[in-house]
């Protein structure tokens, strides 16, 4: 009986690991193939993807996975790895972008068209829907008997783990746009949804502290709750920094005109290649001197004319 249980646990682990190993192999193959024709694929994307796969595997295979059947805090480490850290790292690997540049151009065009018109994708990638799938799913798991049932039913175990990973991934790509993103929301919108989703996660982790899921001893629930709370925070800080850094890069001020110095202008004219026409005109007009230099030059002229300022 005992050996039979162990055997099935090992089979389960291998079964869950296979998709991730396949994803890793396909990704590396795609990089090698596409690098022959296209610009070299960024190394940091490969590193992110590899560590993402590693995080997912760590939670599904080996000591953490073994322990998580009996120890709630180990389960929580697995949850943070599979549902939060792995999705973030894998999203940074930009798999869809890689896929599109690897396959033949007509196929890539077809695929882009499908992605752009896909209603399910549109729905699931909406920040609110993705947050409900992710955080709502966790609430159902930890506040009902589902958590207990999961450890008795192998199929349920597979479905729940697939959900934790997929919901985490969908949530990540609904907040940060690293990969191909046909449906977009503003930075403010995503930040607000993110605050609410993270609050839901924090509340749930503290709730578990006081109300352990069925079958979980209270000392394990307390430790697990803190792992969920602080582990979640740590991963989300990374996600947030990426989100805000993207905003920071995008809202870069452009040199406008002499009157306002640096200012953003929302209705600029751009050529197809992305050249800012107004910027070029302005640069040509003041060739040789920047706005600041002109300003300083004027200030100098003024102090020359005014003997009082010259002395001080």
């Amino acid at each position: 009986m005992h050996t039979h249980e162990q055997y099935s646990a090992a089979t389960l682990q291998i079964f869950l690991a296979i998709p991730f190993i396949l994803l890793f192999v396909i990704y590396i193959l795609a990089v090698v193939l596409s690098n022959r024709k296209k610009k070299t694929w960024p190394g940091y994307r490969m590193v992110a993807w590899s560590f993402g796969i590693l995080c997912a595997l760590l939670s599904l295979v080996g000591p953490i996975a073994d322990l998580s059947h009996t120890d709630f805090s180990a389960h929580m480490i697995g949850h943070v790895l599979l549902g939060m850290l792995a999705p973030l790292l894998l999203a940074l690997g930009a798999p869809v972008t890689l896929l599109l540049r690897t396959i033949r151009i007509p196929t890539a065009r077809k695929l882009t068209k499908i992605l752009r018109n896909s209603r399910p994708l549109h729905l699931v990638q909406h920040p609110v829907v993705a947050s409900i799938l992710n955080i709502g799913g966790l609430w159902v798991l930890y506040t009902t008997d589902l958590f207990l049932m999961m450890h008795e039913n192998m199929l349920l175990y597979v479905i729940i783990h697939a959900h934790i990973f997929l919901a985490g991934y969908v949530f990540t790509i609904s907040i940060i746009y690293v990969d191909v993103t046909p449906f977009r929301k503003s930075y403010l919108y995503r930040t607000v949804v993110f605050v609410l989703a993270l609050a839901g996660h924090s509340v749930l982790s503290k709730y578990i502290y006081g109300n352990p899921p069925t079958g979980v001893p209270s000392d394990q629930a307390e430790l697990g709750s803190m792992i969920m709370y602080y582990g979640g925070d740590t991963v989300e800080v990374g996600l947030l920094i990426i989100l805000f850094y993207q905003w920071y890069k995008k809202s870069r001020p452009t040199f406008n005109n002499g009157k306002e110095g640096f200012a953003i202008s929302n209705n600029k004219k751009f050529t197809v290649a992305g050249t800012d026409i107004e910027e070029v005109k302005r640069l040509n007009a003041n060739a040789g001197m920047s706005y600041r230099e002109i300003n300083e030059w004027f200030a100098k002229q003024q102090s020359k004319a005014d003997p009082l300022t010259k002395k001080t």
Partner: protein, 163 residues
């Protein structure tokens, strides 16, 4: 423009600060909020152990409020840092107004924490096993002072905007 240059030295460095007066204030408010939440978490909870991660007497609404503020405050801190960097690259940083915002944000959050969360929702107390009154007084009076000074600084920089 020439008048403005002579009336304040930091206008020369930050010629766009008036155009970004609002962003200066909000960057400060968000940052102040984040700082207070950070001090609460690190100093009182982690270092001094005055109060704890979870309190059995916490009500559900207290838990929700705590979670929301926890999420909001650390997102605000990171967001405010990027907004601050943005002000600097636009040569629009306004120290006085930013500090005013920090005090206002910090004071409002501390007062909310001290009155609503600690007293009304009973989330947790500042410290356990002691007479709580002096702690509550210091906590809330400090908060009110920060709000007052912050509001004055904001008011003063408001006035400048018109002049």
């Amino acid at each position: 423009m020439t008048n403005s240059i002579s009336d304040s030295s930091d206008f020369k460095q930050n010629p766009n600060k008036k155009a970004y007066a609002k962003q200066n204030m909000w960057t400060g408010i968000l940052f102040g909020l984040g700082i207070v939440a950070f001090i609460d978490e690190v100093v009182f909870h982690q270092l001094l152990h005055w109060h704890h991660f979870y309190d059995k007497s916490t009500t559900d609404i207290g838990l929700v409020s705590d979670g929301l503020f926890h999420a909001f405050s650390f997102i605000a801190t990171i967001g405010a840092s990027f907004l601050l960097a943005d002000l600097h690259r636009r040569h629009a940083f306004w120290l006085k107004r930013w500090v005013g915002g920090i005090l206002l944000g910090a004071g409002v959050f501390q007062l909310y924490d001290g009155i609503i969360q600690h007293k009304w929702m009973g989330l947790h107390q500042i410290r356990y096993g002691v007479d709580i009154l002096p702690y509550d007084l210091v906590w809330n009076i400090l908060a009110a002072l920060m709000i007052l000074i912050g509001a004055i600084l904001i008011q003063q920089t408001n006035h400048k905007k018109e002049g």
